[in-house]
């Protein structure tokens, strides 16, 4: 019962792990390279969700300090780091897509299984 209660209370952690696994599954099993890149983005988004939810405080507001007021703030550090994480994710996606374009020019397909078949036929 404890486990179920824990899952219900921390549903955002659970959700991000499920999304992470979906993304990883797409990345490693699909043969279409565009889908692989989508999987990569889904996986990264899941981690971002996880990190941001670590810093979340129930009922907290954005950490803008106003003189004389004491309110509950959310932890800004994870959110700030995820901004960097997003930039890293974008550059990875851009680079991966440019590689796919290059491969499409060579083989005329974006499917890695077909590329393997073409290469086998050539040998």
């Amino acid at each position: 019962m404890n486990i179920i209660q824990g899952l219900v209370d921390n549903y955002f952690y659970f959700a991000s792990i499920v999304i992470f696994l979906i993304g990883m599954h797409i990345m490693l099993t699909h043969s279409n390279m565009i889908k692989k890149i989508m999987g990569m983005n889904i996986m990264e988004t899941a981690i971002f969700l996880f990190v941001v939810s670590i810093g979340y405080v129930d009922g907290g507001s954005a950490p803008i300090v106003i003189e004389g007021q004491t309110i509950r703030f959310i932890n800004p550090l994870p959110s700030a780091l995820i901004l960097t994480g997003l930039v890293v994710g974008v550059s990875l996606t851009a680079f991966a897509l440019s590689l796919v374009i290059e491969l499409y020019k060579c083989y005329g397909t974006t499917d890695s299984d077909e590329i393997m078949a073409i290469r086998r036929r050539e040998q």
Binding site: M24, V51, P78, S91, L103, Y107
Partner: protein, 493 residues
């Protein structure tokens, strides 16, 4: 003096960003820039090493902000050892690239090549020094993209394919690493390595699951990037299809920096306390033994010389992990000293193979018979590298193997000496036939040339590496002293 680590990282970064601008219309300029920056930084690191010898190891706070707010750089013997290795080997590779790059990368791509090379050097140096988890993550990504692009820059489709495969698997690895950082931050509240280490005992008590999952995710994440045995599938394609200077830096340095970061994190952040609650070290020992034997067996089946060298790297990474996970002083020293020794040997072998491919266009080892009569210098230094790989006394490979074997004894696990001996035998089985065939085989028909006929900028690095292999085999004292200090730092914590 204290600012030198950040100076070294930033000059490489600035050089990287300046290359495409300065090189527009002047494709020769970025190469010269890189060949000035990297050796100059090697000298600066030498000065820093002497400075650390005077004042002791210290933490450098970027921008003067102390943790937990700022980023800290860890200036100790381990990071200095790695940074020195990176800069010395990169310098040699850059000199070689001057002669070799022309026939593998189009002239208008040269400035981008040096951009990526300097970016990779900067990222690896930052990884060696960094004492902050998020910093490690960001520079891991920078190094990954730069490394993938260094493979894809050769506009052949095999390279692009290998690069894509490497990128996808690396991204899975980065995902694991970021998740692990989040899990650690959750229970310790810090990203700074030292502060996390301080909280570790309490956190492991209260949240053992978080710590254990984070540890496993880090091992798998960095394991993918450093080609730990069952996760090495991307390496042979990536390292064999890249241009020869890229292969040399990827195989010689890039996979190892991830191994060093992993080792630093496991030993200094998690520490012996957490390691003793689960058989992590034993698992690493088994995986590295599998890597040593498996990598060698795969290499035995290869005919493409660069693929053979790439599989050999998988085996050699096994040595490094084996040495560290023995958790004894000699073992750790063996693993660490093998990082530099293997960087020398593998760079030498990849560059020699590159010179042969440059000259003959042949990659098939069965067709290289009699090549020593045409290229005596290249094949001569290749033989030095091969003998060193096998671990013949007098060459530097022997020193690492001796320390690994002593470490196995110290740790009370003499079974791993058999693994080391067996793999030396296997190394001999796939390296020596190439050497024997090259020296004793009849030369093939085809182009006849009497001397090496490779540019001087390719001969000098090869000979320098060959001499270094012998030098560090005969006089390993100063290197071992540096490694002993690095190992002491790891083992004490």
């Amino acid at each position: 003096m204290n600012h030198l680590p950040i100076v070294v990282i930033c000059t490489s970064l600035i050089g990287a960003f300046a290359s495409p601008v300065l090189g527009k219309g002047r494709p020769w300029l970025p190469g010269i820039l890189a060949r000035i920056i990297v050796p100059a930084n090697a000298v600066l690191l030498g000065i820093l090493l002497a400075h650390v010898g005077d004042v002791g190891v210290f933490h450098y706070f970027v921008g003067g902000w102390a943790p937990p707010w700022g980023i800290a750089l860890n200036v100790d013997y381990l990071s200095l050892y790695m940074a020195m290795a990176i800069h010395v080997i990169s310098t040699i590779i850059l000199v070689f690239a001057r002669g070799d790059l022309g026939h593998e990368v189009r002239l208008d791509g040269h400035r981008w090549y040096y951009t990526l090379f300097l970016l990779l050097v900067a990222a690896m140096t930052a990884l060696a020094f960094s004492n902050d988890f998020f910093n490690i993550f960001v520079f891991t990504e920078v190094a990954t993209i730069a490394a993938c692009a260094l493979i894809a820059i050769k506009a052949y489709r095999e390279c692009v394919e290998a690069s894509f495969k490497y990128l996808i698997l690396s991204t899975v690895g980065s995902g694991f690493i970021l998740l692990a950082l989040a899990l650690l931050y959750m229970v310790t509240g810090h990203f700074n390595l030292s502060l996390v280490a301080g909280e570790m005992a309490a956190a492991a008590e209260a949240y053992p699951m978080n710590i254990m999952v984070a540890l496993v995710l880090l091992i798998v994440g960095f394991g993918v990037k450093s080609a730990m045995f069952p996760l090495h599938v991307w390496l042979p394609d990536a390292h064999s299809s890249a241009p020869s200077p890229s292969s040399a830096i990827l195989s010689g340095l890039v996979v190892k920096i991830y191994a060093v970061v992993l080792i630093r994190v496991i030993l200094t952040v998690f520490g012996r306390g957490v390691l003793s609650t689960a058989p992590i070290a034993e698992m690493l020992l088994l995986l590295s033994s599998a890597a040593i034997i498996g990598g060698s067996l795969f290499a035995l089946a290869q005919r493409d010389i660069k693929r053979l060298l790439a599989y050999s790297t998988v085996a050699q990474i096994g040595y490094i992990y084996l040495g560290i996970s023995l958790l004894s002083e000699s073992g750790t020293m063996g693993g660490l000293v093998h990082i530099f020794n293997h960087a020398l040997m593998k760079t030498l072998l990849f560059l020699a193979a590159g010179a042969m491919i440059h000259q003959t266009g042949l990659r098939d080892i069965t067709k290289l018979s009699g090549i020593a009569k045409k290229m005596p210098i290249t094949m001569g230094v290749f033989s030095i590298g091969a003998l060193s790989m096998v671990g013949i006394p007098g060459f530097n490979g022997f020193i690492s193997k001796m320390y690994l074997a002593t470490g196995a004894f110290e740790a009370g696990k003499p079974a791993f000496i058999i693994v080391i001996l067996l793999s030396s035998l296997l190394n001999g089985l796939y390296y020596l036939p190439i050497v024997v065939r090259a020296f004793l085989g009849a030369p093939d028909e085809g182009e006849v040339f009497t001397r090496d006929r490779i540019p001087l900028s390719m001969t000098i690095p090869l000979v320098a590496l060959g001499l270094a292999c012998i030098y560090f085999g005969l006089i390993p004292g100063p290197l071992l002293e540096l490694v002993r200090r690095a190992a002491e730092h790891l083992i004490l914590l």
